[in-house]
């Protein structure tokens, strides 16, 4: 489909964008006393459905469903959303491997997926039917399962799968014609590499671990990042400041949650130009990602309220909104 074939879909998205939560809505919810108040606010904005019954998870699941239904109606190339769902898909693989190896059921650890949900993932792993997985997952699924069975080292298994996920995203992004999608994938991989480097530094991982975990991408020199992360926090901050991630370095100095927030905000910055794009599938992808960000932020607020976090602590964790 050409860019002009998305005119109808983009016009629908423009109307839908009016119902996205703004920074003001988020601020208002963050200032509420409890999760019940937040849920009430969301229900007034049309969140949830007839079956939600005030259950936070049901409300969020209903919103996920609504987003996917809309995206399906707009007939966007399915490979686009498949690519955006790679992190969920690989997460399900990790959860599946752990469940198969530990023999302990944990249904809550899986993302809902039309094809590779908990049942299918467990079946594939138990029957070693790796051909049933998408091609980009087959090799890593086999290897990660073998490593987990042999070593019972969950972290090693996670590193393998996470790295494969990043590599698959970069490869998938290169095949896409849409510039936003390519930029978003690049941004996601770069930010994830930084996250990995920060965690490795804080847990005292060595250079070998970093080499295995970091995925090469266009905007980051992962070799230099690995060197910086294996030296000291100062070196890592210096690397970030001098390689276009000054705000990330500032957030890192502030607190871990401020850094996590910066990571998500940076991704939202990547999609923001789509607000003024009238054609192409860019605004549809941006809307989908904005909804994911919105749902994630609401989940953070609900969790913070349910656990009695202060208003200040809640505000520190909330993300910037698309609108």
């Amino acid at each position: 489909m050409g860019d002009l074939d998305y005119v109808y879909a983009v016009a629908r998205i423009r109307v839908k964008e009016k119902s996205l939560l703004s920074d003001m809505d988020i601020s208002q919810m963050a200032g509420m006393n409890d999760a019940k108040g937040v849920l009430g606010y969301l229900e007034d904005r049309g969140w949830g459905d007839a079956n939600s019954n005030g259950d936070p998870e049901a409300v969020l699941a209903a919103e996920e469903r609504k987003t996917m239904e809309l995206v399906r109606e707009l007939k966007v190339d399915p490979s686009v959303f498949a690519l955006l769902k790679y992190p969920n898909l690989y997460h399900n693989l990790k959860a599946g491997i752990k469940e198969v190896c530990v023999s302990e059921e944990n249904p809550g650890a899986f993302y809902p997926d039309e094809k590779y949900d908990r049942g299918e993932m467990i079946r594939i792993l138990k029957e070693r039917d790796f051909k049933a997985l998408p091609e980009h997952m087959r090799a890593v699924a086999e290897r990660a399962l073998a490593v987990m069975l042999e070593t019972r080292d969950g972290q090693k298994c996670d590193v393998l799968v996470d790295r494969a996920c990043l590599d698959a995203m970069i490869a998938g992004g290169k095949k896409q014609k849409n510039a936003l999608l390519r930029d978003y994938v690049e941004s996601t991989v770069a930010v994830t590499n930084i996250k990995v480097a920060v965690r490795a530094l804080r847990t005292g991982k060595n250079m070998g671990f970093l080499k295995e975990a970091l995925s090469p991408c266009r905007t980051l020199d992962v070799r230099l990042l690995a060197v910086a992360a294996s030296e000291s926090e100062e070196s890592l901050l210096n690397y970030l400041e001098t390689h276009g991630f000054r705000e990330g370095a500032e957030a890192l100095k502030e607190s871990p949650s401020a850094f996590e927030r910066w990571c998500d905000n940076r991704l939202i910055e990547t999609i923001r130009p789509q607000k003024v794009n009238s054609v192409s599938m860019g605004p549809i992808i941006a809307y989908y990602l904005a909804r994911q960000n919105e749902i994630k932020t609401v989940r953070i607020i609900l969790t913070a309220k349910a656990n009695g976090f202060s208003e200040e602590a809640t505000r520190e964790r909330v993300r910037e909104m698309y609108v």
Binding site: L4, V7, A11, R14, V15, E17, V279
Partner: protein, 157 residues
């Protein structure tokens, strides 16, 4: 039929054909955007309909020039053309609205699509949204004037 008459009728045909193609494209693409908005917010029907119609005027201008031409060259009235020179003059007189009509309707259609998006997000900005595609109309009107002035000032015979 002599060659002069052929050229004159070619000009008349191009006026409607090219300007009409541009308008059909512009109204069509704006219609897709309008349908997208109305499917989510039916209250915006009247506003987006007006924006959809804006690129349709070029087709009407082309039709007008065709009628004026045909009524002067002996088809719907006037004096039949007997020489090639006069026929070519009619052909060139029709070209401004034919060409500018095609191009301006295309661009007006795209501008309308953007403005329909604007109305979708901010319905209260409809007045401003109308102005942007209306700016493109200026050039269609200028070419219409040039075509009409040229056609009506050609001396036949």
């Amino acid at each position: 039929m002599n060659s002069g008459m052929v050229f004159a009728i070619l000009g008349a045909a191009l006026s409607t054909a090219l300007a009409g193609i541009g308008s059909a494209w512009g109204v069509g693409i704006a219609g897709q955007a309008a349908a997208g908005v109305v499917s989510e917010d039916p209250d915006q029907f009247a506003k987006v309909l007006l924006l959809q119609l804006l690129p349709g005027t070029q087709g009407i201008y082309g039709l007008l020039v065709t009628f004026i031409t045909l009524s002067r060259i002996g088809v719907l009235g006037g004096t039949p053309i007997t020489d090639v020179h006069t026929g070519l003059m009619y052909l060139f007189a029709c070209l401004p609205i034919a060409i500018v009509g095609l191009v301006s309707a295309y661009h007006q259609g795209r501008t309308s699509v953007s403005c329909i998006g604007l109305v979708a997000k901010k319905p209260d900005q409809f007045g401003k949204a109308m102005l942007f595609p209306a700016m493109v109309e200026t050039y269609a009107i200028l070419s219409l004037l040039v075509s009409i002035l040229a056609i009506t000032n050609i001396k036949v015979g």
